[in-house]
């Protein structure tokens, strides 16, 4: 029957490993069956390429390529700075536009318009304006991330329950106290969920900027191997990007676990889930 207990971590890990094993096996079989490394490379060759990357066994033609460590570091830095900046700017903007109708009326059309523009088209302009330096790439990452954070924060702030607003007012909270002690904690779940989506977009933004601007970092490396038709090395870089994604997405998950112990959702979902 449906169990009311949480699945223990060890069991979840075992299930994940089993699913990973089956996936890798099917992948290898499919690649052997295809027999064309341009269409599909198997996990074994990708793993070999990965090892080659870290031992600086760079394939022919890829001259002047960064070391894998340097590329990872550069991409990570772009993600962290772009995402960090998006939080620093996006959360206050979200609070202001969520709290005051006038601010929402002023900013919302601009935000929505900018949100709809494919940021990619701005990249050449940016390239010619400031060049392909680190900060330009951080800026692209920031642009792709910030709106998600603004919109989520805004929603959280806007829908703080009227009941809590009344409590604040009745006990004589000033505007700043009300924001700090009621609005912010009440909308924190939405802010963090915005960060979670934003983090995914930050990864995308950083890779995009590297592909289209400097041609360095993991994005640049990926494109170099693609141009050389070296699929195993390219897939190795893709795998690295995926691993970075898994890694950095732990931050919002960690925040959720630490900050929302007061939430009761767990006790409901456990009962309802099998």
């Amino acid at each position: 029957m449906a169990s009311s207990r949480a699945v223990p971590f060890s069991l979840r890990l075992a299930i994940f490993c089993a699913s990973l094993g089956v996936f890798i096996l099917l992948w290898e079989v499919a690649s052997i069956a295809t027999g064309n490394s341009l269409i599909l490379v198997g996990p074994v060759s990708v793993l070999k390429a990965m090892v080659g990357l870290f031992q600086n066994h760079i394939p022919q033609g890829a001259l002047g390529l960064q070391s894998a460590d340097a590329a990872i570091l550069q991409t990570l830095a772009t993600i962290v700075f772009g995402f960090g900046l998006a939080c620093i700017v996006g959360i206050p903007v979200g609070i202001v536009t969520g709290r005051w109708k006038a601010a929402e009326a002023i900013f919302d059309p601009w935000l929505n318009a900018t949100y709809s523009i494919p940021i990619v088209v701005l990249i050449p302009m940016l390239y010619f304006a400031v060049g392909a330096d680190f900060f330009a790439e951080v800026f692209v990452t920031f642009l792709l991330t910030v709106f998600t954070i603004i919109v989520n924060t805004q929603n959280g702030v806007k829908y703080v329950s009227n009941a809590l607003a009344e409590v604040g007012k009745s006990f004589g909270a000033s505007e700043s106290q009300y924001i700090a002690k009621i609005i912010l904690p009440a909308s924190l779940p939405d802010i963090v969920s915005g960060m979670r989506i934003g983090m995914g977009r930050a990864i995308l933004g950083a890779i995009l900027a590297e592909v289209l601007m400097s041609g360095t970092g993991l994005g640049g490396m990926m494109m170099t191997f693609q141009a050389l038709l070296n699929t195993p090395y390219m897939m190795a870089v893709v795998l690295l990007i995926a691993l970075i994604g898994v890694g950095v997405l732990q931050l919002p998950k960690f925040l959720e676990r630490r900050l929302f112990r007061w939430k009761e959702t767990e006790s409901i979902s456990r009962e309802m889930r099998r």
Binding site: V167, S170, F171, P185, R261, W262
Partner: protein, 299 residues
Amino acid sequence: MSLLKPPLISTKGITKSFPRKGETGNADGKSKVLGGVTFDLQSGSFTSIIGPSGCGKTTLLRIIDGLIRPDSGEVVFNGNPVTAPPPKMGFVFQQFGLLPWRTIQKNVELGLELRGVDSEEREAVAQKYIAVVGLKGFEHHYVHEISAGMQQRVGLARALSIDPDVLLMDEPFASVDEQTREILQKQLLQIVKGTSPPKTTLFVTHNVDEAIYLSDEIVLMGACPAKVKEVVRVDLPPQRWRYDIRSAPEYVMLWRKIWRFLENEIMHSEGFGPAAPGIDVEGNVELNPIPNETQANRG
């Protein structure tokens, strides 16, 4: 004697309309809930406001606390017109209004925290009122970990922690089960009558038993737009929890009077037509007793 003392709170001709949603209704699209509410509240008294549901009782309480402004009329508290929530009023909300991310202790501290009381004093005061409402040992629980009845006791402790002169309570026990409610009523009475001076309390309810059990005075409000129809004194001993007051003849008479008033207001406003035969508007006609033979047949 109370005639010589100025009232602690006066409401003078309070009116309030809300925009009506939908096509129907008055031409101006507003529904008037309060149609000129005037009454006085004496210091130290326990007063209930009772009336048909949807007649603006809660709105009135919010206006008295300064949470919303009346369209016309004014509230005077201690000689000053109320324009914002006065520091000496404590509000207990129907849906408790607790902050789910805070522990019980931190919830009770909220009012003091907003007033800039330092953390040591805050803790001590909160502990005191947590003990008063009987929640010692639950300080570090989160809101969802305790029952509805306990949550409302936290709401009461939070209101008491700021040492208010007036407690405003908006159907505080409406979302608590019947059995717990009886116990909470008794506890509330002991708390507000036990402080010196006793807390002036204004209590909104739609429960006749609750109003009589708790109050020194009951304000009867009519259907929309509501006005004060009558203020009824409850002449029962102050320490009611000591007596079986529900079987006292005064209690029964009062119950009938208030219920007939309510029934009449509801019959009129809800379109049931004129009040049922045998009940006059003043509520003076008694219901017929159950005939003897019917009682015998039941046995």
